[in-house]
Symmetry: D2
Subunit: 309 residues, 4 copies
Amino acid sequence: MSSDATGIFINETHTSAAIWQYRVGKMLLEGKTKFQTYQICEIPRFGKSLFLDYNIQTSLLDEYIFHECMSQPAMTLHPNPKKVLVCGGGEGATLREALTHRTVEKAFMVDIDEELVDMVKIHMPEWHRGAFEDPRTNLVHTDARQWLIDHRDEKFDVILSDLPNPHEDGPAQLLFTEEYFQICADAMSDDGVFAMQAGSANENYPACMASCIKTLESMAEVFPFVAGYYGIVSTFFQPWGFVLASKQHDPLALSASEIDARHKVRGVSNRYCTGRFNQALFTLPEYLLRAVETEGRILTDADPFVWDA
Amino acid sequence: MSSDATGIFINETHTSAAIWQYRVGKMLLEGKTKFQTYQICEIPRFGKSLFLDYNIQTSLLDEYIFHECMSQPAMTLHPNPKKVLVCGGGEGATLREALTHRTVEKAFMVDIDEELVDMVKIHMPEWHRGAFEDPRTNLVHTDARQWLIDHRDEKFDVILSDLPNPHEDGPAQLLFTEEYFQICADAMSDDGVFAMQAGSANENYPACMASCIKTLESMAEVFPFVAGYYGIVSTFFQPWGFVLASKQHDPLALSASEIDARHKVRGVSNRYCTGRFNQALFTLPEYLLRAVETEGRILTDADPFVWDA
Amino acid sequence: MSSDATGIFINETHTSAAIWQYRVGKMLLEGKTKFQTYQICEIPRFGKSLFLDYNIQTSLLDEYIFHECMSQPAMTLHPNPKKVLVCGGGEGATLREALTHRTVEKAFMVDIDEELVDMVKIHMPEWHRGAFEDPRTNLVHTDARQWLIDHRDEKFDVILSDLPNPHEDGPAQLLFTEEYFQICADAMSDDGVFAMQAGSANENYPACMASCIKTLESMAEVFPFVAGYYGIVSTFFQPWGFVLASKQHDPLALSASEIDARHKVRGVSNRYCTGRFNQALFTLPEYLLRAVETEGRILTDADPFVWDA
Amino acid sequence: MSSDATGIFINETHTSAAIWQYRVGKMLLEGKTKFQTYQICEIPRFGKSLFLDYNIQTSLLDEYIFHECMSQPAMTLHPNPKKVLVCGGGEGATLREALTHRTVEKAFMVDIDEELVDMVKIHMPEWHRGAFEDPRTNLVHTDARQWLIDHRDEKFDVILSDLPNPHEDGPAQLLFTEEYFQICADAMSDDGVFAMQAGSANENYPACMASCIKTLESMAEVFPFVAGYYGIVSTFFQPWGFVLASKQHDPLALSASEIDARHKVRGVSNRYCTGRFNQALFTLPEYLLRAVETEGRILTDADPFVWDA
């Protein structure tokens, strides 16, 4: 019976409003790296899932939605993405999505947590699907921000910022700031496209996403095109927000058929980010537009966002 | 601290995958009618909220999203809605939304649970906002389906079916079937518009919504236009599905400016269902389209949907 | 079904080992005084129950066990208790138990939380049963320690210290120290008897009780007889510890028949603290004796016990 | 912080009154036998612990209390226990305790769940401590009741019935009945001693223990001496009940020093069931005596106890 109280659960808090108890059908693996604890387990209906520090990250049910959103709109928008960088992205699925574009010649992934990625390679093949073995892939384990400064001459066509939420005392706070976005811009080609995961897109906690939009919008000379969008991630019990920032290409100028054509020629076959769905994807509900006005603020190294959800 | 385990909670199950613990800041009222138990309480960040049989129904944070979705697309689509019927809709907020259209001359609300509505009148003014006192309102407490059969000559312009999910042994199972939809059609004017809440729109439990779409689509001679849509209800921890079925008017044929114009002339001012958002509102993600194909089935009195989420 | 996950719960933590979810059948009353929050609710099988700051205090199922333990062994031990003091004891049930001894001429109760006691008078008659109206009763609302200093000449025969656990930042930390016990001794008659609630008596968290025993044992010139005992309080999901300290009378010297005779002559009729059970009551399990040795320490104002369970 | 809501938990229900969430520090092992699911995990403060079908069975903190109670009073009472039988007892700790008596020449353990015992041998050495390798041990995996019928000529000095609670549809219902007790009696020597675990000894759910006492008391020609007792098992959040039934020897006739002497000569050194504590051990609180009167009934194969706690 679905309402049986007994069993194993992983509990996650969602602001002060709720505690979510995910039912664990089977615990597959537990461990701890220098940076975080992890569990891989089976959840009924969601399937195999990953938790980091008791926050669910991904499940087989809809990991494709998160990872297509993380990767595909930016990749598709660029007319010829050859050099791609994934910041973070431990499961290898954002990298996997980027690599579906045949145009890609070189893909870097910079994730600080080598132990986690080593574990993922063995225990989460459904996510990376061989992406780490792709000859185009270069995997680096270091701080993404410093690495970007050191490699600004690479001039990436696309940068995908798939980083943990900016928790207090966490490693990602300075990867959600104006300064970081500028570093990314400096390391991108003249028509480069940047996309980031930006936190919850629901009305209960839109402040992080709203602030990411506001911050990127404030950099109009660098990124004339900024567009928020969200994916419906059932596993997170909330829609999840992303922001795309682009130096030359307007994400809303691409028609559905142009998108489908690009996918076809590049060998891409999406399940969520389709041509048909693209306009809807980029149309934010009114409350998010209001949140940008009322709750959004410009995030800086001196005053970054502190996640409290 | 938001992750404090201690306190008062109302626990709700979401399929076999999860239990949600809503934190109760203050219990305001508890009771029991002939049909259901209820609690009104304060939830941090969500504000005043209503639970029925330990399922959250609505919170002040985003009740407008659910109730606009329930009411506004259908109301706006009809060129001149004079006679409106709300089936169910206990909080009075679906009725409230319908009444925002100045064209309305007569609004019926048929909700079987008189004790609940009496309670709502006193304790949930933020929801009904006087709708029950509106001179156009006719409030009836009886079974909606039988009442519709008895009043088929009323020929409603709009019918809004705001009913509980079709739980086993619950009163609503036969209000999610082909036969019920036909009864509604019979009681509608020649260009009538029907809308219903149809259950979860997330990928974990799309079967009810998918089956409502499939069933209404199978009635093409009655309803040539059928369109699913969803509202992002943070309070439910999932997007919520609705289906609109229309005898003559195509919901996708209305432009944003036509919608805004209709709202303006009728005195309507929406926060979620705006002209700008209308196309996006009606664009379902791919997984819902697939679910209609793979999980949707035609619901009948003999074989209705049995909610198990 | 008893394992149904849905419903209303009050969650309490029990050390880092567990969270207990008490199922609320009905919330009867909620409120907040200057000192604490409270809920009165119905719990299945336990009946009407009181929570303070989300810690269960008492239920109708077995409040008699806690309150007899709090009051009866000390009262019975004294050969002629005329003047009694209850420190704390908000529900009035410790007072009620003391008053069952016909010998009592004057009973003081000093509880700092007037708002709580006022609430109890109205909403918890099953606990006080008129004790507050007893002509022998004197109810005072102030800090018990200071009041004792000011009233040391009263020379009480029995002092019952029914105070909250010594939580960090709570009001009771300095009511579990050597200095407080000395103040009590000073305010007692030459053959006075002191009893206190001393925290959990289970093996998971015996440190508070062990330290209370150790501290009182260290005051052998004042209290030559010190004896720990415990009551099986189902409502607390653990046995609960008490300590009796006596100036002249040895609690283990009383035979079962002497106890029964005293009860008879004084009009006392206990359900837990009977003559038959008295020896067993005062026989601590080995782990508590070991805990006194290994975890017990002398509690002082400078270094009081800090509850963390 | 001990009240942190986030983390991994195993949830157990305790009647309709409560759900207990045990915090899992680390999941060590999970599995499933033909008869039950199991988890071995670390719980803060309790240490390594075993769950069967999501009911906690034992933890390192106080497994000695349960297993001494299960084994020692019966073993000590018999003046010369040579042949011992453990029915159930999967962890091997009841067997281990029996074997501490040097008098034992042959010890049988009959546990139906071979897969579980095989797992225990490898993963729970802290419990069995080599008992399965003891040359006196005979381990059999079959139904205990049928085995006893087939081996009634063995004439055991002590039979220890360490079986799961009599859950509906569980394997143990007919191992808590008069007929089973008679089968045990038939397989015992003329001065044999029988002991069983009998369920909760708290006031919330005493019916099972009360019925076991009542049933054994009704067999006075077979067992003239019947005595209930309980152990304080912190891990279970309740005192746990046992019943001893004896053909010739009176458990209350043994003095503390006789017990200590027997322990000494047999090489036994207990941590809970000491001579000092023996009288207290066998002194039930009044509510259990009342429960035998009011809730106890004679359990038979036709009308066994059905556990619902």
